[in-house]
């Protein structure tokens, strides 16, 4: 019968003629389990609209086609089809999908707003306000995700919560930026105009400071902090970009003797210091706690202070005006503050020399001195003590702040907010609107805004309201894409929001204006320029974050008690950097994507080397490091970021990890368990090993069809704990074995073995998933069965070169998915 049908299919060319044969095939081979009575895997195949299929129908059929091709469905035991029959069934399905596609409307992207990150970046581009230091968009709800991506138009919503947050943010711009062009000043923060407080440093006679402590345990209270003379202790009168100039050196970083004396085994307090590490000086901007506003601390910069003569270190940071102070600490210094050290240690080294807070209070009560007296005395004692005991330290002899830097860019940003005095209201608004709408304005486009503003007598106020309205206008908030074929401005916007996650710059807009951008060579060199630009880091981080599901870092971070180090060293940030660097490396060198699996090197700094237990390296900057051959880490599946993202914060689960690999790397996550399946309750009391527990559940046919694919991938990674550290046994001593078997029968013994098989057999799937995700990220819409011909064509081309990464990216921006609405 099948042959007859195939013949029929071959002859018949209209859909109507093809239709009736396939339904019969489905009826005979699939519907028993995926029909009205049973819906295994939550799947029904009896409701396909064969005459006029919907997109969802085609997606279903495509999945069915894959299952047939791979021989996974129908199940071997029950199948009435021979291997050949299955294959031709799949083929006719493929043909049906192909023909149907041509009759359906092509995909287009639906109107989408800037997502939160894009909004923040644009505000920074327009006004210079750094969203990390001063997040005007704090009240925006997080963006809705679609398969992990935060820019898919269909998914992104805009509600009154958003609009009120945009309004609020527009008001805040004016609270941040003074109405006069800033004047550059030079501030000496160690002069007597400022106060230095905290208990992680000592003051020396020559007015220099020795910073001794890492205050991370108690950072909130004890960090060395400079308080300014301004209102509420504020340091700055104007917000803006400032240059720091820090004179510093480090001392005694290798003086083991002093440290040993201090941290003798007799002393129980854990206050060791990382000897031999390059001391890191970290700067923070701090908003002191006061009524109604809790203390806030924002990390600005970490400097590596090398041993030797004093050096001048410079860096720039955007700083807010008002009641903020500046904090700094010795990030890898003593792990306690000096008050603690004084009471617990000085007294043990030199008994009775130091009064505790309690004893002080008692004496004050008895009238034997004031708190101030005691503080002064304690300070002196500490200074003396730490001059004697030479623990590692950072000596700072100067901190200068220069700014706000009045660069051309800063001026322009000021004019965005306040307009130019010499221009009229209309002229000023035209300049700003053009910038904010990221395109040329249409004729008289601003008339309706201007009409509403004429009645306002105060022209400055009128301009402000105009700017605020523009910042809430749909033309600003949404990405405008009108016709099917995108015009050069629309392409410029897509490019810049894809590769910079922000608005196009002048160069790009200029090329768009004259249509130059549409020329292939100009376009290509623009893409190259944009990737060279530092803003392309936004692309790398946002893409990797979405692709690999790093969102889970925020939602389910590793448990504080189990993984203290994770929280202490802000190692989460470093873990992500490692993977960003790897991605950047593979992209910039146009390496084959199998490098993501096979790389025997990684990108780490001193802290990460320590985390992994590699040989120590110096300095906080990231660099390429070969993975020592004694370690079983390879590619991104050996990186902590991925191992954290695929765990759940408390423990690892082979199912979660396996699902993670399927979903994020191979793009083929099985559905959630159907309703009628009872999920076994984990049992860690020790009577059942983890392997046995899962083996039991895989023996249930309801579970096994998916779990034979999921579990082995996860078990292979069980040697890595929930923060990605290597382990041989579980908490309770049960030995871990990573061995397993792919559904295809190939066996492996270690994670490396699993990854090798994955690289060999699944690289096409990996490539397809990566390509689809890039296309989704670049266009802001889902990539579905309608796009398959283009996806397949690109993949076929890239496969010839083993899928080079940079070429893949170029193929994405040249694709019709990217070029069309």
């Amino acid at each position: 019968m099948l042959r007859l049908l195939l013949l029929y299919l071959f002859v018949g060319s209209s859909l109507v003629a093809e239709g009736p044969g396939l339904p019969a095939l489905f009826e005979n081979n699939c519907v028993k389990c995926h029909g009205e009575e049973k819906q295994k895997g939550d799947l029904r195949l009896d409701k396909i609209n064969w005459k006029q299929p919907h997109l969802e129908d085609l997606e279903l059929l495509k999945e069915a086609m894959y299952q047939l091709e791979d021989g996974e469905m129908p199940p071997k035991k029950e199948s009435k089809l021979s291997v050949e029959q299955s294959a031709s069934f799949a083929k006719s399905l493929s043909k049906y999908i192909h023909t149907s596609r041509s009759t359906m409307a092509s995909n287009d992207v639906v109107l989408r707003r800037l997502n939160k990150a894009q909004y923040q970046n644009v505000i920074q581009d327009l006004f210079g306000i750094d969203p990390v230091v001063r997040d005007l968009a704090a009240k925006l709800p997080p963006d809705e995700l679609y398969h992990g991506f935060d820019n898919v138009g269909e998914r992104l919503t805009l509600s009154d919560i958003h609009l009120r947050a945009y309004l609020d943010s527009a008001h805040q711009v004016y609270q941040e930026l003074n109405s006069e062009l800033p004047k550059e000043k030079q501030l000496d923060l160690l002069s007597s105009d400022y106060r230095l407080v905290g208990s992680s440093h000592i003051l020396r006679e020559d007015k220099s400071i020795d910073v001794l402590c890492s205050s991370f345990v108690n950072r909130r209270f004890k960090m060395a902090t400079i308080i300014g003379p301004g209102y509420g202790g504020g340091t700055l009168e104007e917000s803006g970009l400032y240059k720091f100039r820090v004179k510093a050196r480090s001392l005694f970083t290798k003086d083991e003797e002093a440290v040993e004396r201090l941290f003798d085994k007799k002393i129980k307090t854990k206050v060791n210091v990382e000897l031999g590490e390059i001391p890191q000086l970290a700067f923070f901007i701090r908003r002191p706690s006061r009524a109604f506003s809790p203390r806030v601390e924002i990390h600005l910069k970490t400097l590596d202070i090398i041993d030797g003569p004093e050096k001048v270190y410079e860096f720039e940071a955007w700083l807010p005006k008002g009641a903020y102070s500046l904090g700094f600490n010795y990030e890898n210094g003593l792990k306690a503050d000096l008050v603690n050290i004084s009471t617990r240690i000085i007294n043990q080294v030199e008994p009775g020399s130091y009064l505790s807070r309690k004893e002080e209070t008692e004496l004050i009560r008895k009238g034997k001195g004031s708190r101030g007296d005691f503080n002064t005395k304690a300070n002196l004692q500490r200074t003396e003590f730490f001059s004697k005991y030479k623990t590692p330290r950072i000596r700072i002899s100067g901190i200068e702040l220069i700014g706000p830097l009045v660069t051309e860019k800063a001026k322009e940003q000021f004019y965005h907010a306040h307009g130019r005095k010499e221009l009229t209201l209309k002229e000023n608004l035209l300049v700003f609107a053009k910038k904010a709408f990221r395109r040329e304005l249409k004729e008289n486009e601003l008339d309706s805004i201007l009409n509403k503003l004429v009645s306002i007598k105060d022209k400055d106020l009128a301009y402000k309201i105009g700017v605020k309205a523009i910042l809430c206008s749909p033309k600003f908030l949404y990405l405008e894409e009108s016709d099917e074929k995108l015009d050069s401005y629309e392409i410029a916007n897509r490019l810049s929001f894809f590769l910079w996650n922000s608005m196009p710059d002048e160069t790009l807009l200029k090329l768009a204006k004259h249509g130059e951008l549409l020329k292939k060579d100009v376009f290509n060199s623009e893409v190259e320029r944009m990737l060279r630009d530092s803003r392309s880091k936004n692309f790398v981080s946002k893409f990797v974050k979405n692709w690999l599901g790093f969102k889970s870092f925020e939602q389910m971070p590793p448990s504080k008690n189990l993984f203290l180090a994770y929280h202490e060293f802000s190692i989460e940030r470093l873990m992500k950097y490692e993977t960003y660097h790897m991605f950047e490396h593979i992209l910039n060198n146009n390496l084959p994507i199998k490098e993501f699996f096979e790389a025997n090197y990684t990108f780490i700094n001193d802290r990460m080397a320590k985390h992994y237990g590699f040989d120590a390296i110096e300095g906080s900057h990231f660099r390429k490091v070969m993975v020592p051959s004694s370690h079983q880490r390879q590619g991104i599946l050996g990186q902590s970021s991925v191992l954290v993202a695929s765990a759940n914060g408390v423990d690892t689960s082979p199912v979660l990890r396996g699902m993670w690999v399927l979903e994020h790397l191979l793009g083929s996550a099985p559905p959630l368990p159907p309703d009628d399946v009872e999920i076994p309750e984990p049992d860690t009391r020790g009577s059942l090993s983890l392997r046995d527990f899962y083996a039991k559940h895989r023996s249930d046919p309801n579970c096994s069809s998916c779990h034979v694919k999921i579990d082995p991938l996860g078990f292979a990674l069980e040697n890595f704990d929930a923060v990605g550290l290597w382990r041989e046994t579980y908490e309770k001593g049960e030995a871990i074995s990573a061995h397993g078997e792919f559904p295809s029968g190939e066996k492996f013994k270690t994670s490396k073995g699993m990854v090798d098989i994955l690289t060999k057999n699944q690289i096409d799937k990996f490539a397809e998933n990566l390509l689809r995700k890039l296309m989704m990220s670049s266009s802001g819409r889902e990539i579905n069965v309608m796009d398959d011909p283009e996806v397949e064509q690109i993949l076929a081309e890239l496969k010839k070169q083993a899928y080079p990464m940079r070429d893949m990216l170029m193929a994405v921006v040249e694709s019709s998915v990217f070029r069309n609405k």
């Binding site: 509600s159 448990s559 008690n561 408390v650 309750e681 009391r685």
Partner: protein, 425 residues
């Protein structure tokens, strides 16, 4: 805990003289022609419960409260306890945030009825009568509440730390601050006016599908207009006057750093104050259960750790201890509401629906089936344990809440039949 902190904790709540409470409540009643205004409160946590010490075995009014639930003992007659009721959602932690709307966040876009949570549906109807249409207390790591808008955005918390919320509720700003707010509000009005025109001109070139999408923008303008109007009205009015002395440590942010246990206590006090001063009539409290170390017996690690108990008895016991504390605080609020008398002699609890729920059933299996749920107040028939047997959905119960506030309501998020919990057999 320091002595001073203890002192403040005792002070809160007790410090408000009762007559003043009555003034606010009476005013509210007088304003509402249909008797005491109705109110809604829900507190949610996201790690579920230990089943054997939570769900009662007997059904009906003669049921025994198991060990953990028994902290609610004194309110047994005033509350209804449910078992085998849920939203039929899957997805573990990811589905837990759907506790008040029955919609998994990632499915909101495909949901034919949207994803509005019950407190928001209610707030839309009654919110205009108070300074705050609704309030969202606390929130998890991302400072999000379990309240959700129709389009599927979870509402950011209205105040993540006690100081912020206290300010919002009770501190009338300085003249200068009010002036800035008023200016911003009136600017806001002009801006909304302008951008409506902008939207019209923007719409011209758009495709059908894009126009549909832009509807969200239009309705955002309309809602924002209403909200601005409401704010314009209230900005002129002083906030409820309290004796601020007992709240010094709340105001200056000291309490923002308190342990999670102490914070929960403060939130309950503030929620009670917000209700008695009629500042709002729809409140959610989203407890960030997850990463915190509760200062309770047997607890040394964070709650998420214990929720993965793997049947180990000591971990289960630690989790129970956290559960117990949370429910105790719920019980405290019920007590406070019961003690507030309204003009007609009824208690504030009589006109307040107060819910305790979790979107997760069991933190070890990560199942969302069979959720812990208690409903109190609102003058409903209470005093029973109802085994729902998965027959009626949680949304059908929410639908009956919806009807309580608006008899003309015809559904809630897909539920078109009221839950039969009031039909006593």
């Amino acid at each position: 805990m320091s002595h001073s902190r203890k002192h403040v904790l005792k002070g809160i709540g007790a410090s408000l003289a009762l007559p003043m409470m009555e003034t606010y409540l009476n005013k509210a009643e007088a304003a509402s022609k249909t008797g005491s205004p109705k109110r809604f409160f829900a507190m949610t946590q996201d790690l579920g419960c230990i089943h054997d010490t939570w769900f009662p075995t007997e059904v009906g009014s003669n049921y025994k409260m198991p060990r953990v639930m028994s902290v609610l003992k004194e309110h047994k007659k005033e509350c209804t306890v449910f078992s085998n009721i849920d939203h039929n959602l899957k997805g573990g932690h990811h589905a837990a945030s759907g506790v008040l709307n029955g919609v998994k966040n990632t499915d909101a876009i495909r949901s034919p009825f949207g994803a509005e949570s019950i407190d928001q549906t209610i707030a839309k109807k009654i919110g205009h009568e108070t300074r705050f249409e609704s309030l969202q207390f606390w929130g998890g790591g991302q400072k999000l509440s379990s309240s959700c808008s129709r389009s599927g955005s979870h509402l950011p918390s209205s105040g993540f730390v006690p100081s912020e919320m206290f300010h919002k509720l009770f501190i009338t700003g300085t003249k200068a601050e009010i002036e800035v707010t008023k200016n911003n509000l009136s600017n806001g009005k002009s801006i909304l006016d302008i951008i409506e025109d902008e939207a019209k001109s923007f719409e011209k070139g758009l495709s059908h599908r894009d126009k549909d999408k832009l509807d969200q923008y239009y309705s955002a303008i309309r809602s924002s207009e209403k909200s601005l109007q409401n704010q314009m009205y209230w900005v002129e009015k002083d906030k409820p006057k309290l004796d601020l002395k007992p709240y010094k440590k709340v105001m200056d942010g000291t309490m923002d750093k308190a342990t999670i246990d102490d914070q929960l206590k403060i939130w309950i006090d503030l929620i009670h104050l917000a209700l008695t001063t009629d500042s709002t009539r729809s409140i959610t409290l989203t407890i960030p259960t997850n990463l915190s170390i509760w200062n309770q017996p047997h607890v040394e690690k964070d709650a998420h750790y214990y929720s993965h108990h793997g049947k180990e008895e000591d971990k289960k016991e630690a989790f129970r201890s956290i559960e117990k504390y949370i429910v105790t605080q719920y019980s405290r609020l019920l007590k406070k509401l019961k003690e507030d008398t309204q003009l007609d002699g009824s208690s504030l609890l009589d006109s307040t629906i107060a819910v305790y729920a979790s979107g997760l059933s069991n933190g070890s299996t990560h199942s969302n089936s069979n959720l812990p749920l208690v409903v109190a107040g609102g003058n409903f028939q209470h005093g029973r344990h109802i085994d729902n047997g998965f027959k009626e959905s949680l949304n059908s119960l929410y639908y009956s809440f919806n009807k309580y506030f608006d008899p003309s309501a015809s559904s809630f998020n897909g539920a078109t039949k009221e839950h039969s919990w009031q039909e006593v057999s």
